[in-house]
Symmetry: C2
Subunit: 211 residues, 2 copies
């Protein structure tokens, strides 16, 4: 049935495919740059991290690094932005579930992200009061996470899954408990991010449920 024209041939080496390969390679390298930078910022903070030290972690020269990121602010913004979007992904939840369950879902994700180098960088941007549009975008994002928690606390008091509480204060208490994670959580410790997330979500839920 197969027409002879369709028999296997050595494929033409397309320049577009090569472009795609180069794009993929560039993406992979940019990813490695972000990972190395996130690790450096998480370990040493913003001011004690230099582009040189990030380049050294990757075994490349600073000019090579410049090809992927123009400045420390570029890097920290890209890193923190990604972490924030990872947390916000948990805004999607089963709307039929009690609000407390939806809040646990958000807390679990928030904790998991904060236990990574990327999540730690959200706190680093806050510590340095990062300015410019990148800093503002992050602040707006973090406020949205706070707002989502307040909405769920309010909903939970309405649907009976959460006991009476001061919504604003409680949201700040939860955020604080989670934002503290970068200060004590160690990848080398006995608990995985998922374990910490589960413990946090359960303990906070126990504290919030009506008595």
């Amino acid at each position: 049935m197969a027409a002879s024209a369709h028999k296997a041939k050595t494929p033409v080496k397309s320049p577009w495919a090569a472009t795609r390969d180069r794009a993929a390679e560039r993406e992979e390298k940019r990813e490695a740059v972000l990972q190395a930078a996130a690790q450096a910022f998480a370990e040493n903070g913003y001011y004690k991290t230099s582009l040189d030290s990030i380049a050294a972690r990757l075994g490349v020269t600073k000019p090579t690094l410049y090809y992927y990121a123009r400045s420390k602010d570029d890097l920290i913004t890209a890193i923190a932005d990604r972490a924030m979007l990872q947390i916000m992904a948990a805004f999607e939840s089963d709307e039929q579930a009690p609000a407390l369950v939806q809040l646990q879902h958000l807390i679990r994700r928030y904790v998991e992200v904060m236990a990574t180098d990327f999540g730690r960088c959200i706190m680093v941007t806050r510590e340095i009061r990062l300015e410019g549009p990148g800093g503002e975008e992050l602040r707006v994002g973090m406020r949205k996470i706070g707002q989502r928690m307040r909405d769920l606390l309010q909903q939970g008091m309405a649907d009976g899954s959460i006991g009476p509480c001061d919504v604003r204060l409680t949201a700040f208490m939860i955020a604080g408990a989670v934002n503290e994670i970068p200060h004590w959580y160690s990848d080398d410790g006995p608990m995985s991010p998922a374990t910490v997330a589960e413990k946090f979500a359960n303990q906070l839920a126990a504290g919030l449920a009506p008595r």
Copy 2:
């Protein structure tokens, strides 16, 4: 009865008294320097605060300021150290009381201090990873506060005032909730530090009490 030698005289103007006055005056000025510096660090963080800007807040020149503090590190250490001692003062509590009540006492004080410019400076030293003996002393102090909370949580599980919990994780959650206060509490807001302290202590206690 009074001997004539004892009748009121114009007091001799003693040079020692004058020295005491000068010492008191110096102390008062140093206090003002610490207050102004605490306010500046709390508002703008460490890196964006200069000795010049602190001098400007006081309406003095930088050389005058130098007489009271040699460096930003001197200042931030003195400020954070005082705040930490204020928190530690709450280690003294009624040992006959249930551990949960003693923990509430500590949380109340911890919150009150964190709602002041001096308390905010503890967080600033942490953010900048303050080095040297001053930085180390602060880290040791903060660890002692954590240890005190863990001890009370443990005691509370033993005396029945606190339900079963992961002591280490719970202490970190409480510390995080309190350490977050500098990020949202405003002196201009509707709540006094004492009100926030009361709400925190009560809500955390409600979450910790056995069910």
